[in-house]
Symmetry: C2
Subunit: 235 residues, 2 copies
């Protein structure tokens, strides 16, 4: 089956967590909104007046199913492609961790958009600075310290133990993104999360991920996505 | 089996979405942190150095399982207690909607905490006012308009059709909470979402929910929770 991924065509954004899973799995997929007339198709599906119209991208068409919400898509893909356990307990645990990553992603986004997603960054520079300071003082240590602790205690190379899951791919993306958006702050902070950084390095070295990152399918970070490099927020 | 719910004892917060599901289902559960030494037990589980320590409350102990993240708990409970379909497609759809509610809950919270959850409201009044304005101009209409559209189009009384799911219970809570926090704004806005308001009324009338709301198990809204009544944000 060929999957169809629907996501904004010019950013990594939340779609990237799905792309990484599809790429690691070697799954066959189309990144629909990046193809001709793909955006029109995407908008049409969201405006549907019957069926299961998603609230927002990303969403995935898998045969007859249309699945929205990043973590929900990963829940669906995970056990089918060896990126999560098939048994309920393990499946719920991996999903729980992904939802925690999702919460963190919202807080990362809010460093540059504390007054809401519908205003420009340029209209909220001062509150963004305050929120970014708070993020690095309190929130990044709390979230990444949590994953660091899991890595320390489980005796394995991956967050849930000996086997790679989609959460590990997402944590790779978090490290990449924070390095892009906050190069100075992240440089200093990485000393506190050696396990997470090692995990990042193990993910980068995987053949399918390496090939993906070097391909044109990987969109570059930019200032329309979740991770934005604004110098004022990095000091 | 007696469930154990772990959540902050003095607020509805995110725990309330789980409480509503347990109550509607007539499930046997203890609200552990509201019992003697319950808070200590809760903190201990979060600090565990092995197993599956949750990042934050709420979490649910169900036999040997400890399940964290509100939407994940509901995913687990839903198909066991007739609050979601058992088949995969329906299960994923209901979960997807719950994750959309969860995103909305973050945005509701951020109306009074735009600079982050670790600072006081009193230290962020001006940005909170801006964020609340933006919330009511853009975000509430977008989210609640989406659920209104689903209710219009599915030909049933509930968000996913003819059967009540945990998402309906959560939408009831959203309406209750917005009425508490923003009485003026909500009064005007309810005209635009008659289907959601009807849904709220149908949920209130359910026997188990009615009994729960009248019981001491239902904590009153207050200014430590998600929905806070700050006059300055309601005008």
């Amino acid at each position: 089956m060929r999957y169809e991924l629907y996501y904004w065509p010019s950013i990594q954004g939340r779609g990237e967590y799905v792309r990484l899973a599809l790429e690691e799995a070697g799954a066959d997929y189309a990144d629909v909104a990046r193809t001709e007339r793909g955006m029109t198709a995407m908008m049409k599906m969201m405006e549907a007046r019957s069926g299961a119209p998603p609230f927002a991208p990303p969403f995935l068409r898998a045969g007859k199913l249309v699945i929205g919400q990043t973590a929900n898509i990963l829940l669906y893909l995970g056990s089918r492609h060896g990126l999560a356990p098939k048994a309920e307990a393990g499946k719920l645990w991996v999903h729980q961790l992904q939802l925690t990553v999702a919460d963190f992603v919202v807080e990362i986004h809010d460093t540059h958009h504390p007054l809401g997603p519908s205003l420009y960054y340029e209209d909220q520079r001062a509150p963004a600075k305050k929120r970014a300071d708070e993020f690095w003082r309190e929130r990044a240590p709390k979230y990444l310290g949590y994953f660091e602790r899991l890595l320390e205690n489980n005796g394995g190379s991956y967050v849930t133990g000996r086997r790679l899951t989609y959460v590990d791919l997402s944590l790779f993306q978090i490290v990449e993104g924070l390095r892009y958006a906050f190069p100075q702050r992240m440089k200093a902070f990485e000393r506190d999360i050696p396990g997470v950084v090692d995990l990042h390095d193990r993910v980068v070295a995987r053949l399918n991920i390496k090939a993906y990152l070097a391909s044109p399918r990987r969109i570059a970070f930019n200032e329309d996505g979740i991770f934005r490099r604004y110098k004022a927020l990095d000091i």
